[in-house]
Subunit: 295 residues, 2 copies
C-alpha cells in the first residue's frame, strides 16, 4: 500500500515549533493546494502571518478546519480536547485528523468521544524538537533523520494511517507504529523523565545559598549547561505532558530515585568499583546511540 503526501487543504491548529516546521515543509515541497493555521492568541497569528507560513490565518478552530482534508493538532496535550470540541461541527467527512502530542493514551481517550464518525484520527508523535518555541522557531528540516511514532487504534482506516505515514516519511522521518500505552512508557524514559530531571536540577541550583546564580552560569560548561537547554523547553507544553502521562512518569521516576539512592550510598561508603562499573556501562550505550546515528 502506498500513498502520496499531498493534500487539498491542510489546517494547522496551533503554530508553535512543530506546526510551524510542518508549514515550512509543506510550503517548500508543495504538499498542499492551500494551508490555514489557527492560533489562540492574535499575537502568535500575526507572527505566523509576518513569516508568510500559510495562506490563511484564523483564531477560530471551526473556521480553520472547514474544507480541510488534513488537520494537524499542534497544541499542548491538555488543550487538545477543547480545541477538538470547538472544531468538531465543521470537520468534513473523510478528513484525517492527526496530532503531534508527546503523550498518546490520554489524547486518544480525549478525542474518541469528540470526533464525528467518518473522520479518521491518526494519533502521531514526531520525536524531534529543540528548546525553542513559537512560529519563528520552526524549520523544515527539523524532522530529518528522526523517528515518528503513530499509535492508531485497530479500527482506524488503513488508508488514513498510510497517508499520515507517507507525510512523515516525506519529512525525512522513519515511522514506527505502536500501541499508545507502550508509546507513553517509551517516551516517559527517553523524553519525559530527562526533562523532569533537567528542570529539577536547574531549580535546585537556583535555590542554593552557598553558590550564587552568577557562579552557576559562569562554570556551567562542566555539564550543567546541557541541562539548562532542556530546562528551557516550553513550560505549558511540559506541564501538560506530566499531567497526562502521570502513571508512566511516576513509574520511571521511582526507578530513577531508587538507582540514585544506591549511587548515593556508593559515594558515601567510597565504593569506587560500583561507581566505575556503572560509568563504564553507560559509556557503551552512548556508543550504540552513535552507531544508530541518533547522537
Amino acid at each position: 500500500m502506498t500513498a502520496t503526501p499531498h493534500f487539498d487543504r491542510v489546517a494547522l491548529i496551533g503554530i508553535g515549533l512543530i506546526n510551524s516546521s510542518i508549514a515550512r515543509l509543506i510550503k517548500r515541497d508543495g504538499l498542499a493546494a492551500s494551508m490555514i493555521c489557527c492560533a489562540r492568541r492574535q499575537e502568535t497569528l500575526d507572527e505566523a502571518r509576518a513569516l508568510e507560513l500559510c495562506d490563511d490565518y484564523t483564531t477560530d478552530p471551526a473556521e480553520a478546519v472547514r474544507g480541510a482534508d488534513l488537520v494537524v493538532l499542534g497544541v499542548p496535550v491538555g488543550a487538545i480536547k477543547s480545541v477538538a470540541e470547538a472544531m468538531q461541527g465543521e470537520l468534513q467527512a473523510g478528513a484525517i485528523v492527526t496530532d503531534v502530542g508527546s503523550v498518546k493514551a490520554t489524547v486518544i481517550n480525549d478525542l474518541r468521544p469528540v470526533l464525528p464518525a467518518g473522520v479518521h484520527f491518526v494519533p502521531g508523535h514526531p520525536v524531534a524538537g529543540t528548546e525553542h518555541s513559537g512560529p519563528s522557531a520552526g524549520f523544515a528540516e527539523l524532522f530529518d533523520g528522526r523517528w515518528c511514532i503513530l499509535t492508531p487504534e485497530e479500527a482506524t482506516d488503513e488508508v488514513a494511517v498510510e497517508k499520515v505515514r507517507a507525510f512523515w516519511a516525506h519529512a525525512g522521518m522513519r515511522v514506527d507504529l505502536m500501541d499508545a500505552k507502550h508509546h507513553d512508557q517509551v517516551l516517559a524514559i527517553t523524553s519525559h523523565l530527562p526533562h523532569l530531571i533537567a528542570y529539577n536540577i536547574v531549580g535546585t541550583a537556583h535555590d542554593l545559598e552557598t553558590v550564587t546564580e552568577r557562579e552557576v552560569i559562569k562554570y556551567s560548561a562542566g555539564g550543567f549547561r546541557d541541562f539548562t537547554r532542556i530546562a528551557a523547553s516550553d513550560p505549558v507544553m511540559w506541564r501538560d505532558v506530566f499531567l497526562n502521562n502521570r502513571e508512566a512518569v511516576l513509574e520511571m521516576l521511582g526507578r530513577f530515585s531508587e538507582d540514585l539512592a544506591s549511587l548515593q550510598r556508593a559515594i558515601r561508603w567510597s565504593d569506587g568499583d560500583a561507581l566505575e562499573e556503572l560509568f563504564t556501562r553507560t559509556r557503551e550505550i552512548r556508543r550504540s546511540l552513535i552507531e544508530a546515528k541518533q547522537a
Copy 2:
C-alpha cells in the same frame, strides 16, 4: 604584575583530553622550549608519540619532571598523590606544579606533604571538556572562552600564580581565584551532580524490562541523548571525582532529591501550577546563560 606564558621545559603528567589539548596549544604557540609527556601505559604514550604531541615521551614521572620549570598534572584526582610521590625527588627548586583536576581540596591535602619546599604548587581547574578522552581527543581551542579556576593557598608564591594565570589567559580562558572548598561546592552543582544524574538515568533506562535498549536509542532525540553524551565521560576520572568531593556532592544530591520528591508529589496530585511555575523559572536561567555566552 604581569607574566609571560613561556617556559623552558614543560612536563605533562598524563596525556588525556586536557593535557593533550595543552600540548597542542603549547606547540602551536611556541610556549615552551621543550616538552615531555608521561603516561602510565605504553599504549597511551605510543598514541601521543604518533600524534607528535611532545618532544620527549616517558612512562616514568621522575624522568618527566627532571629539568622542568612547569609540571602539569593531568591524571585522575585519585592518582595525583602517587604520581607526586614518584616524581618528588626530581622536581627542581623553583619549579611550578599545577594540576587540572575537577576537585581541589583533597588534591591540595594530598600534595602538601609530598611536594618539596621551594616547589610552587598552584592548584587549577580549567572548566572545559568534552565526553571524549585520550591523547587523540584533545584540541588547542578546547579552553577558548571558558573559565579557569585557580585555588592557591595564601602562602603560595604570587609570581608562580601569575605565571599559571597568564598561561590560561593565553589559552583563551577567563581566570578566577577562589578558595578550594568553595570551588568544590560550585563544581558539585555545575558539574559533578549533572554527571551523576546523567550516569544514573542512562543506567535506569538500561535496566528497564518494559522498554528495550533499542527503543531507548531510537527515540533518544526527545531529551535522553543529551544525557548519554555526558554519561560517556571517562569512568575512572569521574569515579575519582565522586570519591574525592564526597561531602559537597552528597549535600547537593540531598537537595536535588528533596526537590525531585516535591515535583513527584506535584505530578501525583496534578498540581499543574507548581509544575508550570518551576518550568517558567528555569527558562530564565537559560536566558542568563546565553547572555553570559556560556551556552
